[in-house]
Each structure stands twice: as structure tokens, then as C-alpha cells.
């Protein structure tokens, strides 16, 4: 998987499809959101991809705790990093979208706040790791923290925003725009945007993993 080519070609094709069909495809005409409904393929896809990366990260964290191998730690860290990048882009793009549809770039919406809390927990993961000089201890404590951070993702971005009134879809009252996804959009969404952006993130993560492995080899080869 790490060094194969086929899925990278697939990634390029899916993203090209997402961008082209995402703008030229027909979308339902809805008040307020108008054409910005197309942001589903970009803004929401960031979050979907982030969930995949952070899930992979926590799996490697658990694997590390079961069998402490430095390679697992590298995988866990790099997938967490790419997840953080996508999540941060998700917050920024969401704020931009909100600025032109909800009327304010930031309106302390429960999901906005939840996403910020989740991201802060993950930023703290990186800071926490770097504060531990011993590499084995860093990897072990990092893996434990990773599991707690992942456990906090669900209440902060999936559960709590849905239990209160939210401008985001899924909350009580609020936004009815996406309660039923238009089937024409579903095709681009399921077959293009989600796998496309996810594969791009995996690509970037594997590049960083390979670089980390090369670096490690360089140091271990040193006389």
C-alpha cells in the first residue's frame, strides 16, 4: 500500500471528478444556501476525511500499546497530523461558508465550538508529545493520549451539537438544508469527494511516514 501507484492515480482522477462534476453538476435550488450547497464536496469532505485519518491514528496507537514498535508510533503520529490539517481546514472553510450564509463568520454554533474543542485537544497531543524527551515514553504516553483524544471527538463533534439547537444540519430545529441529500449530489459526494480527499490525505501521510522511516534508518546506520 505504502509504495503502490494505482490508488494515487485513483486519487487524482477522483479529485478531478469532484472538482469538475462538483461545479458543473446540477444541484437542488434551496433558499439561503443557493450555489454554496456545493461546499458539501469540499468543506464537509474535510471532516469526513479527518475522521478516517484520526481513526487510523488511534488504531496504530492501540497497536503500539499492544506491541511497542517505533514504526506504529510513526504511523499513529503522521495520521494524526494529517487529520489535524484537514480538521483545521474544515474549521476555516466552515467559517468562510457561514460568513456568507448564516450572516457571521463565527456565531458560536455548538458544532463550531465542538470542532474547535476537538481540534484543541489534538493540538495539545502534539505539544504534549514534544514535551517528553525520552522517545519510548513519548510514544507510549502519546498513544494513551491519542485514545482519549479520539474518545473526545465523538461527543464534541457528533453527539453534543445534535442534542442542542444548532445551525448545522442534524441539530434540533435549525438547518433543514441537508436533511435529505439530493441523489444527484450523492453520486459526487459518495463516489468522488469522500474517497478523493481521503486518498489525498493518506498519500500525504504515507509520504511523511516514508520520510520518517528514512530518517530513522539514517540515524540507526550511524556508526
Amino acid at each position: 500500500m505504502l509504495r503502490q501507484t494505482w490508488w494515487k492515480i485513483l486519487c487524482v482522477l477522483l479529485l478531478a471528478y469532484t472538482v469538475i462534476a462538483g461545479f458543473l453538476g446540477t444541484v437542488p435550488a434551496k433558499p439561503i444556501v443557493n450555489e454554496t450547497i456545493r461546499n458539501l464536496y469540499f468543506h464537509v469532505a474535510m471532516w469526513m476525511a479527518m475522521m478516517v485519518f484520526l481513526s487510523v491514528s488511534v488504531v496504530y496507537a492501540i497497536l503500539y500499546l499492544r506491541k511497542p514498535s517505533h514504526v506504529y508510533d510513526i504511523y499513529s503520529l503522521e495520521y494524526a497530523k494529517v487529520g489535524i490539517v484537514f480538521g483545521t481546514l474544515g474549521i476555516i472553510t466552515g467559517s468562510e461558508w457561514a460568513g456568507f450564509t448564516w450572516g457571521a463568520f463565527w456565531s458560536n454554533d455548538p458544532k463550531q465550538l465542538g470542532a474547535v474543542i476537538a481540534m484543541l485537544i489534538y493540538y495539545a497531543y502534539l505539544v504534549f508529545r514534544n514535551g517528553i524527551p525520552d522517545i519510548d515514553k513519548r510514544a507510549r504516553l502519546g498513544a494513551v493520549y491519542n485514545i482519549f483524544a479520539f474518545a473526545m471527538l465523538f461527543p464534541t463533534i457528533w453527539i453534543l451539537p445534535r442534542m442542542v439547537e444548532s445551525l448545522h444540519p442534524g441539530g434540533m430545529g435549525g438547518n433543514p438544508a441537508f436533511n435529505d441529500l439530493d441523489p444527484r449530489m450523492a453520486l459526487v459526494w459518495v463516489a468522488g469527494a469522500i474517497p478523493g480527499w481521503t486518498l489525498l490525505g493518506i498519500w500525504i501521510a504515507t509520504l511523511r511516514i516514508r520520510l520518517a522511516l528514512v530518517e530513522e534508518k539514517k540515524y540507526s546506520n550511524r556508526p
Binding site: P183, L187, K217
Partner: protein, 76 residues
């Protein structure tokens, strides 16, 4: 095990391809969309710009991939 997975994959793509069939006629009130933009052909400019950006980013990532590949070979 493998054939089962493949069957599921084919089933999934059949479902994905069938999604547009479920599209129903829009009966909602007239909402202003960027139809004029599309009629003037200007949406294609946006598509062009995004495809260019995507191509640039992809080119960059592929270059990076090659460079790391070379580095790996040197260390082997």
C-alpha cells in the same frame, strides 16, 4: 473471503451508480441560482482555475513522492 469482498465492492458501486435514478423533480419555489453565470459560460472559468490548482498540487505531491522514493533507494 476475497471474492466476498469483491462482490460487496461491486454491489456498492452498483448502488452508487443507481443514485441519480432516485432524483425527483423539483417542485420547490423559484430560488435564485447561478444559472446566468452558467449560461454565460463563466462557471467554466472557475472549473479551469480549480483544475489548474489541483494539477499544480498533484504535480508537487508526485515530485515529493519521487524524491522520497529516491532517498529510500539510496539508503537501501
Amino acid at each position: 473471503m476475497y471474492t466476498k469482498f469483491r462482490k460487496l465492492l461491486i454491489l456498492f458501486f452498483c448502488w452508487v451508480l443507481a443514485l441519480p435514478v432516485m432524483a425527483q423533480a423539483d417542485t420547490t419555489q423559484k430560488v435564485e441560482m447561478a444559472d446566468g453565470l452558467r449560461a454565460n459560460g463563466k462557471i467554466y472559468v472557475v472549473v479551469l482555475v480549480l483544475v489548474t490548482i489541483l494539477a499544480g498540487v498533484m504535480f508537487y505531491v508526485i515530485r515529493l513522492d519521487r524524491k522520497i522514493g529516491k532517498l529510500e533507494k539510496e539508503l537501501k
